[in-house]
Symmetry: C2
Subunit: 330 residues, 2 copies
């Protein structure tokens, strides 16, 4: 049934010209916000979808957008995928999720496949990719948007603004008397280093603290690495009383280990995650975390991708605000 709704039907219901509907869909010309809203409501009401087969014939591109992520088992990326799909649906695009397991060869292979298959676009969260890997890609003409903590070469980027949230997290742990912060971070060779560690370290002096290298445990972004990192930190001579984690998956691993070791969270050690993945409120104690809203990241990525599909060639960086979420673990 959906196939039979045409752009003309949408135009009629919205009381605009077919050209205006086309502009709203393609973004090729500016449309007044009220008009856009009316057209979008008509699109939703009629269940209109773009005829992708016809478009594919016209553009020579498929209707698939690759979302390339290091770990699809991390609910942050699952949410990112779901929202990106919602956002791109009105354009007749389908999102396929590619899992790299944080492996650079896999990242490169999947990028190459997406280009070779003439995908409509690529959204990638690099983990071990080097800037040069992406540079080669920009020459292929396939639109690319990078979701990373720091801008990554001359490509469209969605990056967090986590300064205020990280400061609030530090306020929270110092308010409960903690003085010795530590971090469970990612591996040494991750793309762009470890900006979450850098941020924490740069803010710590404002609270009369520091984050020495010895109090940084490193590993993959896995639950197992979180457990190992927590054990390492607990065995340290200068035992920390507040542990920050580069993401919530690591934090859950730390919780596992704390329980095993009989370390009371937050009594003995305050624990702060990052992302606010869906399970952050399921674990006990509930995880205090720095929320990086996957929905907003996906919306920003979709907007950047739309801009590229419209022919914009100047790279843009969009910042998405992170938010401190106080629960029970800190």
């Amino acid at each position: 049934m959906q196939e039979r709704v045409t752009m003309a039907d949408v135009a009629r219901l919205a009381g605009v010209s077919t050209a205006t509907v086309s502009y709203v869909l393609s973004g090729k010309r500016a449309v007044a916000p009220e008009t856009r809203t009316t057209v979008e409501a008509a699109i939703a009401e009629l269940g209109f979808t773009v005829n992708t087969a016809a478009r594919s014939l016209r553009t020579g591109r498929s209707s698939l957008v690759a979302l390339i992520v290091p770990d699809i088992a991390n609910p942050f990326f699952a949410q990112l995928a779901a929202t990106l799909q919602e956002e791109l649906r009105a354009l007749g695009l389908h999102v396929v999720v590619c899992n790299t397991r944080a492996d650079r060869e896999e990242e490169r292979a999947l990028l190459a496949e997406a280009v070779q298959q003439r995908f409509a676009g690529i959204v990638i969260t690099p983990f071990r990719l080097l800037p040069k890997d992406l540079e080669a890609l920009t020459l292929t003409g396939t639109p690319v948007t990078v979701s990373a903590d720091v801008p990554f070469g001359a490509v469209d980027t969605v990056a967090p603004d986590a300064r205020a949230a990280t400061r609030q997290a530090l306020e929270r742990v110092t308010a409960s008397g903690r003085r010795r912060i530590a971090m469970i971070a990612g591996p040494h060779d991750a793309t762009g280093g470890d900006p979450r560690l850098d941020l924490l370290r740069s803010l710590a002096p404002q609270f009369g603290m520091s984050l020495p290298r010895q109090l940084v445990a490193r590993g993959e972004h896995t639950r197992e690495a979180g457990a190992a990192g927590f054990a390492e930190l607990m065995s340290h001579r200068y035992r920390p009383d507040a542990v920050f984690c580069a993401n919530d998956v690591l934090a859950v691993g730390a919780l596992d280990k704390a329980q095993e070791l009989g370390v009371d969270i937050p009594g003995e050690v305050a624990l702060v995650g990052h992302d606010d993945a869906s399970f952050a409120s399921l674990v006990r104690p509930r995880l205090t975390t720095i929320r990086y809203p996957a929905e907003d990241v996906a919306r920003a990525a979709a907007q950047l991708l739309k801009g590229r599909l419209d022919g914009r060639t100047v790279p843009r960086t969009v910042r998405v605000k992170a938010e401190f979420v106080a629960r029970s673990s800190a």
Copy 2:
């Protein structure tokens, strides 16, 4: 660097012929288990990967396999994706995950895209797809494997064998004196009905119980639907003392609602999930569930797909054993 490792290098290290390496990779001929192990070790040691571009030119097919699932935010499917990827990697195939949000039009659109793009294969967990949607597909020549509770037309199928595990779950709840079982099931119009409900209902009489229609709540496979279903069951005149859920996502929603309503789990109501998703052991109380091992499902699907790629045309059904996991919620 990996690109420069050839099949000849692997053959040399393993002490076999290049043809044998090729057979191990393609599965086109039987290879003795010891030989296979030696070759696989050499592949791993050298980091050998198949030259997919060359193969793609030869076969006219891409190296992408679509995994089409109703909900990528459900960790069961994330695990399925990760293991399927591991299994297909030695064949030089990449898995892309497509999320249908349990929507039939999306299921159809993604199947059509995968065929149109000449994907190497498709693994699908249908949710609202009809048998006729798949029948059309079998004519296209794209190898398809279905993961579903019941066989679904003349296609390769991976299905659970959950009879023994469901019986154990019933033993467990009756041993703690429960007499009134209920179920939070999927929607009425799901593909293949609700085999998990049918199985529970067929076994209940062996324990002197029944599962009347009024004690079946229905909804999408979401946390929200689990909460709504639990509330509905709790308001029932004949209030159940044991609630089974069609999957763990529903069960977590039921836990949310139990906490909100002040219903003690397992004191007042025993709760049993299905799948053993990663969060099942994270929630409190820890979820008692019927484990359907995603890893085994993925391995079986990969084997069936390999068989199709080798030219087998007779449909096969592989059963994967489910296992009862007793934790704290029942």
